[in-house]
């Protein structure tokens, strides 16, 4: 039985504090009904006695303390998965936005996934031909690896990523191949660039797009890469596909994380980002890989804008391309 509460006692940035609750679980999915009737989604960040701290994906504007209704849904954030997702466009939380039909779930999966057992990993050793001499020459992009691309003003990071996606699909013609694209806070034009490129090569039918654009709710970006990777894991490890995941722009993801951390009044680490930034990021990055005895793979291209890595200025673009891990 789902309980509904009307006991919001505090709103702080993207966070809500709800009192008088019982049976609420850590990380539980929350439905928030605004006085206007609009429904938002949120997630439990902390429970203590009869209080629950909820992070609201769509932001807290319009939330009114006495009238907002809160429903705890008794499960974590789950998305429906199916092969029909290929060729479709979703928002940052995994809801279709292309006017197509709802996805009929082959299975439901929690977007947090579970860590790959290090013992189950198989070492990436299959090269992806990218057609970029900077990558294919001395070093190589390997299936199951991560290739971070750092963007800066004037650097052709989007073109690079698009080209890798394109080339990789060409090489994989005989194999089942898919592109999962997770956009966090990028502009419409930037997103369109990828979409057009995927269309040009016909790869769009093999692609799943999750779009959280610059004018979409910022906190939703916390979920977007996880939604994208949950889809990728399904395609790779249950449907034997080679999946290329492009996540752009991870810096916007980090900023959403920072916003929540600041609202929680946590002690900031470097540059105001929370101390657990590294750990949090690795729960995303470490979802790339190959697994013993499985045909599929997840190769990841996270794109970060340079404003975050000023300190490591020795890493120029070509150098970061050499650092294929």
């Amino acid at each position: 039985m789902l309980k509904e509460y009307q006991t919001v006692v505090n709103v702080q940035g993207p966070l809500l504090l709800v009192e008088g609750v019982s049976g609420v679980k850590f990380q539980e999915l929350v439905e928030i009904e605004l006085p206007s009737g609009k429904k938002d989604k949120g997630q439990v960040l902390e429970v203590e006695n009869d209080k629950a701290l909820v992070q609201v994906f769509e932001g807290t504007t319009g939330i009114d303390i006495p009238q907002t209704k809160i429903k705890f849904l008794g499960k974590g954030i789950e998305i429906p998965l199916s092969m029909d997702m290929l060729g479709r466009v979703f928002n940052g939380l995994g809801r279709p936005i292309d006017k197509g039909a709802e996805i009929i779930a082959d299975k439901m999966a929690d977007i947090n996934g579970a860590p790959i057992n290090p013992y189950a990993r198989s070492y990436p050793n299959e090269f992806i031909q990218t057609g970029l001499s900077a990558i294919d020459g001395l070093n190589t992009l390997v299936r199951g690896q991560k290739l971070p691309i750092f963007s800066g003003s004037g650097l052709p990071h989007n073109r690079l990523a698009a080209q890798i996606a394109r080339q990789a699909t060409v090489l994989g013609k005989k194999e089942a191949f898919a592109v999962v694209f997770g956009a966090m806070g990028i502009t419409f034009e930037e997103a369109q660039f990828f979409v057009n490129d995927l269309k040009k090569t016909g790869a769009i039918e093999r692609a799943v797009l999750f779009l959280n654009l610059a004018n979409d709710p910022a906190i939703e970006r916390i979920a977007t890469p996880r939604v994208a990777l949950t889809t990728a894991e399904y395609l790779a490890f249950e449907k034997d596909m080679h999946v290329l995941v492009i996540l752009t722009d991870m810096t916007n993801y980090c900023e959403a994380l920072r916003e929540i951390s600041a609202a929680r009044k946590e002690i900031p680490g470097r540059r105001g980002y929370p101390g657990y930034l590294y750990t949090d990021l690795s729960t995303i990055y470490e979802r790339a890989g190959r697994i013993k005895d499985k045909k599929g793979s997840i190769t990841m291209i996270p794109i970060l804008s340079l404003r975050m890595i000023k300190r490591t200025r020795y890493l120029t673009l070509p150098d970061i391309l050499l650092k294929v891990r």
């Binding site: 609420v24 929690d110 947090n112 057992n117 290090p118 590294y278 890989g289």
Partner: protein
């Protein structure tokens, strides 16, 4: 057992009340998922618990089950060749049970229960034994003979001892002290946060030979010593740690992958069974224990992983072995501490790290050492500890780096600019230091050569001189340098490129014995001596640079250990070619 009740869940931290009777560091099971956790704060009947598994879906009011026992590891045959998570759960068994992804609430024995080991007693009925005495042996792998010891705190007379094949749970020996009879099995348990006892600690007096030239020749670590490798992103911390785990002349190696990448553990799992230990010729895996708590695994278990690792390491040390532990990266361990501390709302110190960061780091490295083990035979064991540190932006003022540098005796300073120029290992010859050198100098002289110490000093002087000269060149250009100074630049370049630079991925270059290191350095410096003489006879440096021996010196690193005699021949060739030049 009494149950507590959860009143708060915040990430890896769970608070429960009704916990009276529990002790600090007791293991508890949280909720009916039975998630393993450890009590890290107690006040009244309220306990703060760090949970080693994901706490999603856990809520207020759910039960907490006490076990009354502290977080412990199982120590006995079956450790070697294992791969464990941070709380000693075997990852291979977890995979068997749960599949490719780690799900929650899985409980598996750290050591195999059904496997039979051939126990060979070295004591007999009627012998009196004290704590730490070795009562028998098990050939655990082709490299490691596992010594079965009387657990700390126990002594008496052996009234029964059984040879032959047994599981670790069988009683293989009974010791009587007074009216009490102790049944001894092949394994014991030890709480990870308490250092295992020993009789006496001594200073390291022997080098831990790693086969890495810049380390062994210039900044050696002693057996039982401590070292740290701080370095920025991508500067070679992990590769260096892997190199040490592969080639260090330790009897047993414990590798703790602490909050780093999963693929790096796969790398080890793939390579180690293939690579041969230079000493025994056996696969390296047969002396290795892996602890893998990668960055995406629960953060509290990462905090525990270094303790799990070092307790296993101490246990092998107690058998009288030289053990080496590598932890990559201690920064991730410190970050785990910071995260838990933040959730506990403790007063933060620098950069949000807890105020006790320094003391935790210090007491971790204090567990290293060369020791006399418990037991009447006064055997000697050593535990060397090497920690990688990953300061953000490579900034050495980072609190974890600072806390580490206060306790460790060797500092291998990885430099971004060296890595950028692909000079690997990117260990700076100007910033690094070893405080063991004085202590182990004697052994090096005896083992390697009387003049090894002087060669090292001469080479270091040339490198320092080079740094000065580079400064002048920067200011006024190379033309102004005198011929002898130009020669110094030339020889320093050779020391850097032909000696210090070492490719971890080259079959031969990856490992260099001390003897070969000595001969290589000797040839370079002999070349310097002779070239100096030539220059004083007005022979131009260009002519010298064109001699075939220069090329040969640059290829010394590729000479296999079995052909080490070629290095001695090269010495004669250097002599011949330069003499020829002078006499021409």
């Amino acid at each position: 057992m009494k149950n507590g009740k959860i009143i708060k869940v915040s990430g890896p931290l769970v608070v429960a009340d009704n916990m009276s009777g529990s002790k600090m560091y007791d293991v508890v099971y949280v909720s009916d998922y039975k998630l393993m956790g450890e009590i890290i704060e107690l006040s009244g009947d309220r306990a703060s618990i760090q949970v080693y598994e994901d706490t999603s879906g856990i809520g207020v009011g759910e039960p907490v089950y006490s076990t009354g026992a502290p977080l412990s590891v199982e120590l006995g045959p079956g450790l070697i060749e294992s791969i464990y998570d941070g709380t000693q759960r075997p990852l291979d068994d977890i995979r068997e049970e749960a599949g490719d992804f780690i799900t929650r609430g899985i409980q598996v024995h750290p050591l195999p229960r059904d496997k039979k080991w051939d126990f060979k007693p070295v004591k007999k009925k009627g012998d009196t034994v004290e704590e730490g005495d070795i009562i028998g042996e098990v050939k655990e792998t082709a490299i490691v003979t596992h010594k079965i010891m009387i657990p700390p705190g126990m002594s008496g007379e052996i009234i029964d001892i059984k040879s032959g094949k047994h599981t670790i749970e069988d009683t293989i020996c009974v010791v009587q002290s007074g009216k009490e009879k102790h049944e001894i099995r092949m394994y014991q348990k030890w709480p990870v946060r308490i250092p295992r006892p020993f009789k006496e600690k001594m200073l390291p007096d022997e080098p831990l030979v790693t086969g890495q030239r810049v380390i062994d020749t210039f900044f050696p670590i002693g057996k039982g010593g401590t070292a740290c490798i701080p370095g920025p992103f991508g500067s070679g911390k992990t590769v260096t740690q892997h190199q040490l785990a592969k080639w260090a002349d330790a009897d047993v190696v414990i590798y703790v992958g602490c909050g780093e990448r999963g693929n790096e553990m796969t790398d080890v799992l793939q390579e180690f069974p293939e690579l041969k230990d230079p000493k025994s010729g056996q696969p390296l895996m047969k002396r290795t224990v892996l602890i893998a708590n990668t960055s995406n695994m629960p953060v509290a278990a990462r905090e525990a992983s270094v303790y799990t690792g070092i307790t296993i390491a101490e246990y092998f040390r107690d058998m009288g072995y030289s053990v080496a532990l590598m932890a990559d990266s201690t920064s991730r361990w410190a970050e785990a501490m910071r995260e838990i501390s933040g959730r506990l709302e403790e007063m933060p110190g620098e950069e949000g790290y807890p105020a006790y960061l320094g003391s935790r780091v210090a007491s971790f490295y204090e567990r290293a050492g060369r020791i006399i083990a418990l037991g009447s035979d006064n055997r000697e064991g050593a535990l060397s500890v090497v920690g990688a540190v990953s300061p953000p932006g490579g900034d050495l003022s980072d609190p974890v780096v600072q806390a580490t540098l206060r306790v460790v005796k060797v500092f291998w300073s990885l430099q971004a600019d060296l890595a950028y120029r692909r000079h690997f290992p990117a260990i700076s010859w100007l910033n690094s230091y070893s405080l063991y050198f004085e202590n182990i100098k004697g052994v090096l002289k005896k083992k390697v050569g009387e003049d090894f110490i002087n060669l090292r000093a001469d080479a270091m002087k040339l490198l320092e001189k080079e740094a000065e000269l580079e400064e002048i060149v920067r200011l006024v250009g190379a033309d102004t340098l005198s011929l002898p100074d130009q020669l110094i630049l030339e020889v320093a370049r050779s020391i850097k490129e032909d000696f210090l630079h070492q490719n971890a991925f080259h079959e031969v270059d990856t490992y260099t014995s001390l003897e070969k290191q000595y001969l290589m350095l000797k040839n370079i410096l002999f070349f310097y001596e002779r070239a100096k003489e030539a220059i004083s006879k007005d022979i131009h440096i260009k002519t010298i640079r064109e001699l075939p021996i220069v090329e040969k010196i640059s290829r010394m690193r590729y000479i296999t250990e079995s052909k080490i005699g070629d290095l001695k021949k090269l010495h004669d060739e250097i002599d011949k070619e330069i003499t020829h030049l002078i006499n021409k």
